[in-house]
């Protein structure tokens, strides 16, 4: 990647390549803030939680400053001020205060989105938010003399410590655990005037000031425990010194070569290269977002001030326990491991065939390689898995806002958020899940008064549950609301011209809610009720080869259960033989397989056949014409019937033989060829040969629905 050095920014690193990371990290920090804000106990806020929110806000502020998004930084600064007031018990965190902070997160997020898309942000939104936050920040007793003064716990009887960290010969500042250090100091008090010497032997590698109410020993003990044998000096100071930094002072950001010039990443040239240009104080003076007056007001006041400390601090919050990797790289790895598995099974086969399998040593080695290869495959597949918390964590906010809006009192309980699922599935599950929660809130949970009248607690409950089950995962959304109204659904279904009869079972009646455009809501709200919901949920889940089930009882609530595979990259399949070729039938569709007795297969009007499965007759799909496979004369009739279920319908597939069950890696046919009707993809079997995966949904639609005018698979295409 080419580096571009800006004029006036000697040795500056091109930060544009860190932009994606900035956006991602800021997103994460905002999510953290939201999470803690939502869980905050309003009566006695947990100090640790407040600190976490504070740290996240602080990181966003610092990062924004580095990337020249100073208006964001100002808003974050205001948030910090408010948090600090709460922390010092000068401000009561009421519902409204939390709401404002949450809203501020939204505003920041929106601003970020605009920056990311290089779209024009609405400057008034950020400005308005800034003003609202300012108002709140100033409405209490705290004296907000200057902006950074207000943010710091300086008004307490805090002492000022000068902290110096010396490094052994030959080490530079990158050897320090800066992230932990700043985090630790952040919990103690306020960090100021961070300076790094870049490893010149006599000067301290790092020096900073800490404003804290803690005692000297405490501060020292913390530092020593963190920095180990490093030479740490802690001095108590009383005056407040520090002129502007001398030009050329390196920042302790990450490496000393980072340089000190500001990075105005969002397009606008350096407008003010003043006397502080090379000092850390000028950080806020560049960047397009600086055009508003706020930027100046906040930081220019004290050029030697805490901007440097903050900035350094924020670079420290780097989640070292994880890395971000392009999914394409993971998929390539998965592909290679898949090939390795094949190569390994070929090796095993060859050893057995050649008679070398008699050699016990060799046999053991081959078996060992086999086990390791499979473990490797599992581990690589595991990379793509993410915990469901990624989705669950969005829900508290949704529930909170929506419940408030609807005047309902709802408690959200979540279990099993640590269950892991493929990244792609997580992404695609987001909308359906959100929709179901919204539905439960809007249609399920009753108003508090109604609940009371029905003898229930005023507070409704929505439960999100995830649990591993078999080879898949079960995600449930349960509410203790009104439940489905059978009569109403039947009435609506009849109005919409759907086939109903009073003898239908509840399960059958509930299926109507999945009909396109179906709604029982009397009026359309902006929450739900437009009838574009449950059918989409069902379709989306179906597209992920999952199933949706409904349980509901009048007055007792509704549970929607979604069963999904763990990943879309692999599936459990039954290898079957049709017309001499191997095909894979996804196991998730198969309910049973059996050898039909001659009397069990019957034809209707001497054409289509049905097979008797216990009490019912299931249509028998002859796959050979559907898949254009030439029928060979010697082939035995029917062979084995595999009963499959899709879209609530059943059919039996006639196959010649079952060859076994196997977990297969799904490969795309379209990558180098075209889509084939009735085929969902391909895979490579243990012998290195390609086998096609049947698209059971499409085959059933093609084979079962001639009345809709869809007679062939080709007709479904396009």
């Amino acid at each position: 990647m080419p580096r571009t050095n800006r004029p006036g920014a000697p040795a500056a690193v091109d930060l544009t390549r860190f932009l994606p990371m900035f956006f991602q990290e800021t997103e994460d920090h905002l999510a953290t803030m939201e999470g803690y804000l939502l869980r905050l106990d309003l009566r006695s806020p947990d100090l640790e939680a407040l600190n976490s929110i504070f740290r996240a806000a602080h990181s966003v502020k610092g990062n924004s400053t580095i990337f020249g998004a100073t208006r964001l930084a100002d808003v974050m600064h205001r948030i910090e001020t408010i948090l600090d007031h709460i922390r010092k018990e000068e401000l009561q965190p009421t519902h409204n205060v939390i709401s404002l902070l949450l809203e501020a997160c939204d505003t920041v997020r929106e601003e970020l989105r605009c920056l990311k898309d290089a779209a024009d942000a609405d400057p008034t939104a950020l400005q308005a938010m800034y003003e609202r936050l300012t108002q709140l920040a100033q409405s209490d007793a705290a004296p907000p003399a200057t902006l950074h003064e207000a943010a710091a716990p300086a008004t307490r009887r805090s002492a000022r410590f000068r902290i110096e960290v010396h490094l052994p010969e030959g080490k530079d500042i990158t050897a320090l655990p800066l992230a932990e250090l700043y985090a630790e100091l952040g919990t103690l008090g306020r960090v100021e005037d961070v300076q790094a010497s870049g490893g010149a032997s006599s000067a301290p590698a790092l020096s900073l000031f800490l404003l804290t109410p803690e005692r000297q020993q405490v501060v020292r003990a913390k530092l020593v425990s963190l920095l180990g044998t490093h030479n740490v000096r802690v001095e108590r100071q009383d005056a407040r010194p520090r002129p502007a930094l001398p030009a050329g002072t390196a920042l302790p950001a990450r490496a000393t070569s980072t340089g000190s010039a500001a990075y105005g990443l969002f397009p606008q040239e350096h407008s003010s290269i003043g006397p502080y240009d090379r000092s850390v104080g000028s950080v806020t003076q560049t960047g397009v977002l600086d055009s508003s007056a706020l930027g100046r007001r906040s930081m220019d006041h004290d050029p030697s001030g805490s901007a440097s400390g903050r900035r350094a601090t924020d670079r420290g919050y780097f989640d070292r326990s994880s890395i971000r990797v392009d999914v394409a790289k993971v998929d390539r790895l998965l592909n290679l491991v898949g090939e390795l598995v094949i190569a390994q099974s070929m090796l095993t086969e060859a050893t057995q065939r050649s008679g070398a399998g008699q050699d016990a040593g060799l046999r053991d080695s081959v078996a060992y390689v086999g086990r390791q290869t499979r473990d490797l495959q599992e581990a690589v597949m595991g990379i793509r898995l993410l915990p469901l918390d990624f989705l669950f964590s969005r829900m508290p906010r949704l529930v909170r806002d929506l419940a408030h809006k609807l005047g309902k009192d709802v408690e959200l309980v979540m279990h099993g958020g640590d269950a892991e699922l493929d990244k792609e599935l997580i992404e695609k599950l987001g909308d359906p899940l959100m929709h179901l929660v919204r539905n439960s809130l809007d249609h399920g949970i009753e108003l508090p008064a109604l609940r009371e009248a029905a003898g229930k607690s005023r507070r409704g409950s929505i439960q999100l549950r995830a649990v591993h089950q078999g080879g898949g995962i079960l995600v449930e959304v349960e509410d203790d609301g009104a439940g489905f109204d059978r009569e109403k659904i039947l009435r609506k279904a009849e109005e919409r011209g759907l086939r109903v009869h009073p003898g239908m079972s509840d399960e059958e009646v509930w299926q109507f809610v999945f009909a396109p455009g179906f709604t029982t809501a009397e009026e359309v709200s902006d929450v739900s009720g437009r009838g574009v919901g449950m059918d989409v949920v069902k379709r989306n889940i179906g597209a992920l080869s999952g199933h949706v089930d409904v349980r509901s009882s009048r007055g007792g609530g509704t549970t929607i259960a979604m069963r999904l595979p763990l990943t879309l990259a692999i599936l459990d399949g039954m290898i079957v033989e049709i017309g001499g070729e191997s095909f894979i039938v996804p196991l998730s569709f198969i309910s049973e397989a059996f050898l039909p007795q001659p009397g069990q297969i019957k034809s209707i009007t001497s054409g289509p056949q049905v097979v008797q499965v216990r009490e019912s007759y299931v249509p028998l799909l002859d796959l050979e014409p559907l898949l254009h496979i030439r029928r060979e004369a010697a082939r035995p009739q029917a062979g084995i019937a595999i009963v499959v279920e899709a879209d609530g319908r059943r059919a039996a597939l006639a196959v010649e033989r079952l060859l076994g069950q196997q977990q297969v890696v799904i490969k795309s046919l379209e990558a180098n060829y075209r889509r084939i009707p009735g085929i969902a993809g391909a895979t490579v079997l243990g012998n290195g040969r390609v086998a096609l995966i049947l698209d059971v949904n499409a085959l059933m639609r093609a084979g079962l629905a001639p009345m809709k005018g869809v007679e062939t698979l080709e007709a479904l295409q396009g």
């Binding site: 592909n335 290679l336 898949g338 090939e339 094949i342 070729e581 191997s582 898949l627 254009h628 496979i629 490969k667 795309s668 046919l669 379209e670 990558a671 180098n672 060829y673 075209r674 889509r675 084939i676 009707p677 009735g678 085929i679 391909a682 490579v684 290195g688 040969r689 390609v690 086998a691 096609l692 698979l713 080709e714």
Partner: protein
Amino acid sequence: MHNRVLNAARAHMVAAPTREFLAFQLGDEDYAIDILKVQEIRVFGAVTKLPGAPDYIRGVINLRGLIAPVIDLRIKFGFKEAVYGPFTVVIVLNVHERLVAVVADAVVDVVALTDDEIRPPPEFATSVNVEYVTGLATKAEHMLILLDIEKLISSQELGIFDVEAAV
């Protein structure tokens, strides 16, 4: 083989205004295609049939985890017989960032041709396949038929790619 072919190609790119072609046999005819489109050459092995595919698409093979279609141009061009023997190979082509394997009776050689050596193709009104012939050349007393393999493979007529994908 892949490397040898590519190195030869690179060496010539600087040396002379010649282009390099991979010559291969289909039945009794010798064809030549742009070497830069060739990714590798492998022995013809097990092919998995594709439902509903035209007969000249033999099926798909596994190319180190990627699934690529196998085209038999002998069938497409209407040869009398298409036999698969020990010398039968598949030439794996990289066309518009897609992998497509083409069956050949044998690979003959890598030939370098200057523009002067390439004669214009004959103009027949009837045969569609001639459309993809860009020229004729003579090497070692054999006639080489130069094919625009990229155009042929991505043609709608062959129908290997979905229409929107075949640019």
